[in-house]
């Protein structure tokens, strides 16, 4: 009887604590961590982070209720920190620091970025990171690591039409890229001008021929050299006209020329034919795709101009699967801990 009374009292207090908790969050937001950069409020020992006073029924909280509060606060703080970290670089204050030349060096920036790259790749990476395949490779690596510890995760299907537009690489070259779309090259506006007519015609004629040769596994050195000469001349002409076109146009055209160079690189690989056969991305689901990439030792390569939407779609599917993988992995870790305690 005493035990029943005690249990009823205990659960009653827990319920009270939950109600108080709900009231607390309705009335006041949780304490946020200090902002990552705020010139007004540098932290000091004499001015610890203030908190709003707790009033009303929340004062009557047992230790168990306090634990639940703390867990929820920690979770919310984590979410806020996550969000604030993601968005820090897009804030006005960052631009103000850049103007005053007090930002980290590019190397410090890259190092900092590597440390949070997975979180960014999962939640809301910039499109440029998806299209450069960075976000996809971050997720791929994470999934390859996580697969050994996770329990069952529902499959996330991938449309076959998406994988046809995804480039992969062994790491030696940037993938098929423009070789895949040799018959209908997406020439940027600037390079469609009459000034580039000769080189454009040569590339339009030579690249499809090289693609067909690569498929058969026999690329002609003469044709390839002719193609590379045309690309170099194209690049020289582009550089020479840098003063006459806008920076945006130049960057777009330069990116295309770089992809033509990448095409030349991959055509020189002895196993280039594999990109059309064995190394063509396969899988009906994200899990199958990851297994395929792992078995073949492949990574994702940057998107060819025009294939960006397929990369965005694939990223979404992979991010959803990776998040589910983590959740199932944490549950399986928790159950392991529980069994250890028993």
């Amino acid at each position: 009887m005493k035990r029943i009374t005690f249990a009823l009292s205990f659960f009653g207090l827990l319920l009270l604590a939950s109600a108080a908790d709900a009231q607390l969050f309705r009335r006041r937001p949780p304490v946020a961590p200090p902002p990552p950069s705020n010139a007004y409020t540098k932290p000091s020992p004499s001015s610890p982070t203030p908190t709003a006073p707790v009033v009303g029924p929340a004062a009557v909280i047992t230790s168990s209720g306090q634990y639940m509060l703390d867990v929820q606060r920690a979770y919310l703080m984590q979410e806020q920190v996550k969000r604030s970290k993601l968005d820090t670089r897009r804030k006005a204050y960052e631009e103000w620091l850049y103007e005053r030349a007090v930002t980290p060096t590019p190397e410090e920036f890259r190092e900092e970025d590597r440390q949070e790259q997975l979180r960014r790749s999962q939640i809301d990476p910039p499109l440029t990171e998806i299209w450069s395949a960075k976000a996809l490779n971050d997720l791929l690596l994470d999934m390859q690591r996580a697969s050994s510890t996770s329990s069952y995760v529902p499959p996330v299907p991938i449309d076959d039409s998406i994988l046809k537009h995804i480039n992969v690489t062994t790491g030696r070259s940037p993938g098929l890229g423009l070789v895949r779309s040799a018959d209908r090259l997406p020439w940027p506006y600037v390079l469609q001008g009459a000034y580039y007519q000769d080189e454009r015609s040569k590339v339009d004629k030579l690249l499809p021929a090289l693609a067909r040769q690569a498929e058969r596994g026999m690329v002609s050195a003469v044709t390839l050299r002719e193609f590379m000469d045309a690309v170099r001349t194209l690049e020289s002409k582009l550089r020479a006209s840098i003063q006459d076109i806008s920076s945006t146009q130049y960057v777009e055209a330069k990116r295309f020329v770089t992809q033509l160079h990448d095409a030349a690189d991959i055509l020189q690989e002895p196993n280039v034919g594999n990109y059309f056969t064995r190394w063509q991305p396969k899988g009906n689901s994200v899990e199958e795709l990851v297994q395929f990439m792992t078995a073949q030792g492949l990574k994702f390569a940057p998107a060819t101009i025009g294939d960006e939407p397929y990369y965005t779609a694939l990223h979404r599917a992979m991010a959803n699967y990776d998040i589910a993988l983590h959740k199932s992995g944490s549950r399986s870790m928790a159950s392991k801990r529980g069994s250890y305690r028993r």
């Binding site: 937001p29 304490v31 946020a32 902002p35 705020n38 010139a39 007004y40 409020t41 000091s44 004499s46 001015s47 982070t49 203030p50 709003a52 806020q80 969000r83 604030s84 968005d87 670089r89 897009r90 804030k91 006005a92 204050y93 960052e94 631009e95 103000w96 850049y98 103007e99 030349a101 930002t103 060096t105 590019p106 190397e107 920036f109 890259r110 970025d113 910039p126 440029t128 990171e129 450069s132 960075k134 550089r239 840098i242 003063q243 006459d244 076109i245 806008s246 920076s247 945006t248 146009q249 130049y250 960057v251 330069k254 990116r255 770089t258």
Partner: protein, 424 residues
Amino acid sequence: MSRRSILFVFFVVTCSNVFGEEKRVAVGKCLSPTGMIVRREKGNAAWQVVRIAEPIFTEDLLLALPLGVLRFDNDMRMSFLADMDGRSPFPAIDSAVRIHANKEVDLDFTLDRGRVAFSNVKKRGAAKVLVRFHDQVWAVNLKEPNTRVAVEIYGRCPRGAIFSRDGKNSHSPVFDAVVIVMTGRAAVRIGNEEHLLHPPPKLCFLHWDSIDGAETPRRLPKLPDWSEPDDLGKLKVGLKFRQKIQRLQQFRKLVVGQSVSAAVETFLESNDPAKRRFAVYAAAAADDLRHLTQALNQPKDTDLCEDAVRAVRHWLGRAPGQDLRLYRHLTTAEKFKPSHAETIVQLAHSFAAEDIRQPATYELLTAYLRHDVTAIRVLAYWHLYRLVPKGRDIKYDPLGDKETIEAGYKAWKKLIPDGQLPPT
């Protein structure tokens, strides 16, 4: 006149009164010396000097160059606290407000940019204020007489923003705002949350940005350095301050005697670097794009380049669509080629994180170091200085002669060869 005509005219007049623009109503007066504040009526591009004791009207854009004081009829007071010297943690370089007629509150205004402080100078009782900026409307209750609250905002275009000539896919700047209670007690209501603030060292500081919203209020050990008294005569009398006051007075006299544009031009031509610097920010504050562009494209010295770029970026961050305004000015008024104008506007933004990892970005910037257009050279060097600290020792002057520029370009090219990232 037929009855129908009379009714029609009556209908039109009533509609225009009900649905038309707000009328200009006098709500207070200027306490600052003549010319410290200028105003611009809605739909009018010209700035007019506000004289001491002159009435202040609603819906006029009031710009302080850079300080000013207003007194309102219902015992409210407002000070402009712009900071052209860069002492503030945030760039509150110029300050401008628009007052609104509102019988529900003691003061209703839009903070267009910069920093103002408003005070409850009633003999007794609280004062209600509505502060508007960006898409925000904050209700501030100054709980007791002599409560003084400062609010400041600034904006910047986010990194990686891409400018488009047709204005499509235009980005909005991101904004930061700060509220500080300087004296008294004030309750700041933002949406469903209300924060009670006191002066330092208590909870007095509230920070908001357009990405994460408002943070929890924080303490400051003391008031910031910029919280000077309103009266210029009471300012500290160190040499630098005296010189600053002299400059302000000279500028003010030129504004009163001639115009804001003439004052800017005179100061830009001056041999005093401090005056030239002041003029650049004043040009941006007054939307004087002609002189702002001149400072960027024909600066008198290299030091001015830094301020010109910063002033342009500050101006671009004020509101959406500023980049398109600048582009149109460059092409129509300044006769830049469209491609050059587009490049200038684009380079006034920062590069995206992904761009910083690309060798092509540095190839582009180094190539621009010897561009024919000075503004492009200035902007390219401005970015390289920040992105490649190891290149800061290279002797390059965007305003130098052809040989100097070529030598600097070659040195940068040696540091960052084509196809490579800068050394770390």
